[in-house]
Amino acid sequence: MSEGRDEPDIPSGASDAQLFCLRLLGGRYAFEASLVAEVVRLGPLTRLPAAPPFLPGVFSHRGEILAVLDVNQLLGMRPLPVGAAARAAVVRAGPWKVAVLAEAIEGLVEIDRAALQPPPAEAPGGAAEFLTGVARDRRGELAVLDLPRLVDAARARRIAA
């Protein structure tokens, strides 16, 4: 299932960015919607021995076993809940297919690219280095994440640790 798309498809308005927004790190974060394969409910998680904290476990979804990524823990923040109602966005970030855990999933948002602001210098958990910009829509502020870099960094952190 490698449908890596580098450019998001823009069904309406070339200046609009299709982002997929979810709630984590205590705020609204979004990334390229094309990265998202599916939104899922977490099944029962199987913990893996010797796994880093940001990998709370794996679960089975439609016969496929997916690893769960907790961005909060990756950036040293309070762990996201992994209860039965927890939701995750199954994303393809580079070579990795991972279920990104979220507090809540907003879904698709359209942001005018021109309206994208540069990311702030500081962000909670040190996420600033992974932000490509911030924007605002009718629901409030949101930050745009470079998810592939984030996941790469996860792996790198693992090595560093």
């Binding site: 029962p44 199987t46 796994a51 990998l55 794996v58 089975s60 076993i65 297919k97 991972v98």
Partner: protein
């Protein structure tokens, strides 16, 4: 892996269940009253009751476990590789893959590697290449 997958010994350490190649288990001993072969808990976690020991073939030590649940012969489809990111991030190379037991993904442990890792002289294991079972 080609051919029928080997029978797996299913055991439990604490709340977690694991599977291992039954061929790697020399025998199952009752727990020793005295000092155990394993000085510390493995990456599988610490057993709560440590009722038995899995004597690993070719190794000097045994793995203390809480329960031995039996031997299963999984269907080939039930054997899965670790998700790539997981395989890339695990600190132990003893986790070789997963087996779906009644739909639940269960880590498949390479026991010899595991007990090897626990030797005091054993260095921190390199994250191994993702294995595809």
């Amino acid at each position: 892996m080609t051919g029928a997958p080997p029978p797996l010994l299913i055991f439990q350490v604490g709340p977690s269940r694991f599977a291992a190649d039954a061929a790697d288990v020399e025998r199952i001993d009752p727990a020793r009253a005295g000092p155990r072969g394993l000085a510390e808990a493995s990456c599988l976690g610490a057993p709560s009751a440590a009722r038995c020991e899995l004597v690993v073939r070719g190794a000097e030590s045994a793995l203390a476990v809480d329960l031995v649940l039996g031997i299963r012969e999984p269907a080939p489809d039930d054997l899965r590789a670790l998700p790539e990111l997981a395989a890339a991030c695990l600190a132990s190379s003893a986790v070789r893959g997963l087996v779906l037991l009644d739909g639940t993904p269960t880590p498949v442990i390479d026991l010899p590697t595991l007990v090897c890792e626990l030797r005091p002289a054993g260095s921190a294991p390199e994250p191994g290449e993702p294995h595809h079972a």
